[in-house]
């Protein structure tokens, strides 16, 4: 699958999981750092929230992948993809 399309699918999976399982005042609109910050503030989730931290981790890995996808495939790239899979699994357990 195209890397861009793959990242979109991952975002959709994560957002649907959070938005369908958590009954909060405002939905999570995206996985950019600022979208997560907005969601956390508007739902009164503090910086120690494990869900917020897991989302930030996934966000960071996705942005890293977006940048690194401009580079030739490397072993680190594969490692990061595995990290995203692990981070999404951890989030699934947390929500």
């Amino acid at each position: 699958m195209d890397e861009f399309v793959s990242r979109m699918a991952t975002q959709r999976h994560v957002l649907d999981m959070v938005n369908s399982r958590l009954d909060l005042d405002e939905k999570l609109f995206g996985l950019s750092s600022s979208a997560i910050d907005r969601w956390a503030v508007n739902n009164r989730l503090g910086p120690s929230s494990s869900v917020v931290n897991l989302l930030k981790n996934i966000s960071s890995e996705l942005f890293f992948m977006a940048t690194r996808s401009q580079e030739p495939v490397s072993s680190e790239y594969e490692l990061r993809r595995d990290k995203i899979i692990a981070a999404v699994a951890a989030l699934a357990d947390a929500v």
């Binding site: 195209d2 861009f4 399309v5 979109m8 699918a9 975002q11 959709r12 957002l15 649907d16 938005n19 369908s20 405002e26 939905k27 999570l28 609109f29 995206g30 950019s32 750092s33 600022s34 979208a35 997560i36 910050d37 907005r38 969601w39 508007n42 942005f63 890293f64 977006a66 940048t67 401009q70 580079e71």
Partner: protein, 209 residues
């Protein structure tokens, strides 16, 4: 390292919710650069995009300004024009599929409606840009590119178009007013018009290679 501004600020297309698009060209990795603030490319990769006639290379070629150069040179200008853009068919079909995935999600009652509307806006904008690069003499790269194609412009309800833009801002920057209840009876017919528009553009691009 080279740093360029590109996009709306270089067009003078400024509004209160405009951001500044920044490109960083680097050798290897530079941990000082936040990938949420910069599009980060190696020189080698940028050269590949230039030689492939990639749409982003054309965007940079036509709408970028040098901000900083460690060696005092303007790297992108030194490359001249990118090769002819030949990826229109593949690019348009990719973003047609991106649109379709989000459209299907909306129809099924997604719990992440803002994200899907944001993605639809992205697909419309990018298809318009790819079409304009391939089929017109005046490529358009802005967020409003779908409405800057002359007779081929996207014609949908103004409120729905504004809603899509609002969703894009919420999803990417977490900025703007939250979106309240959306009447799918109004939204879905407009999205079907978007879908028809995409099919027409993809068909034209496909016919002309």
């Amino acid at each position: 390292m080279h740093i360029y501004a590109f996009g709306s600020i270089c067009r003078g297309d400024i509004s209160v919710d405009s951001d500044v698009d920044l490109l960083a060209l680097v050798e290897g990795r530079d941990s000082r650069l936040d990938p949420e603030k910069f599009s980060i490319y190696s020189y080698a990769r940028m050269l590949e995009l230039w030689e492939a006639g990639n749409a982003f290379a054309w965007h940079l070629s036509l709408e970028s300004r040098l901000i900083y150069a460690a060696d005092g040179t303007d790297f992108l200008r030194s490359l001249g024009s990118p090769s002819r853009y030949s990826g229109a068919v593949a690019d348009c079909l990719k973003f047609r599929d991106v649109f379709e995935s989000s459209f299907q999600s909306v129809q099924k009652g997604t719990p992440s409606l803002v994200f899907e509307l944001s993605t639809i806006f992205l697909a419309l904008r990018n298809i318009a840009t790819c079409y304009s690069l391939s089929r017109t003499d005046s490529p358009t790269f802005g967020r409003d590119s779908a409405r800057r194609l002359g007779p081929r412009s996207l014609d949908i309800d103004e409120n729905v178009y504004s809603l899509l833009m609002q969703a894009r801002l919420l999803s990417t920057r977490g900025a703007g007013d939250s979106i309240g209840d959306i009447d799918l009876a109004i939204l879905l017919p407009e999205l079907k018009r978007c879908r028809s528009w995409i099919e027409e553009l993809c068909h034209e691009v496909n016919l002309n290679g």
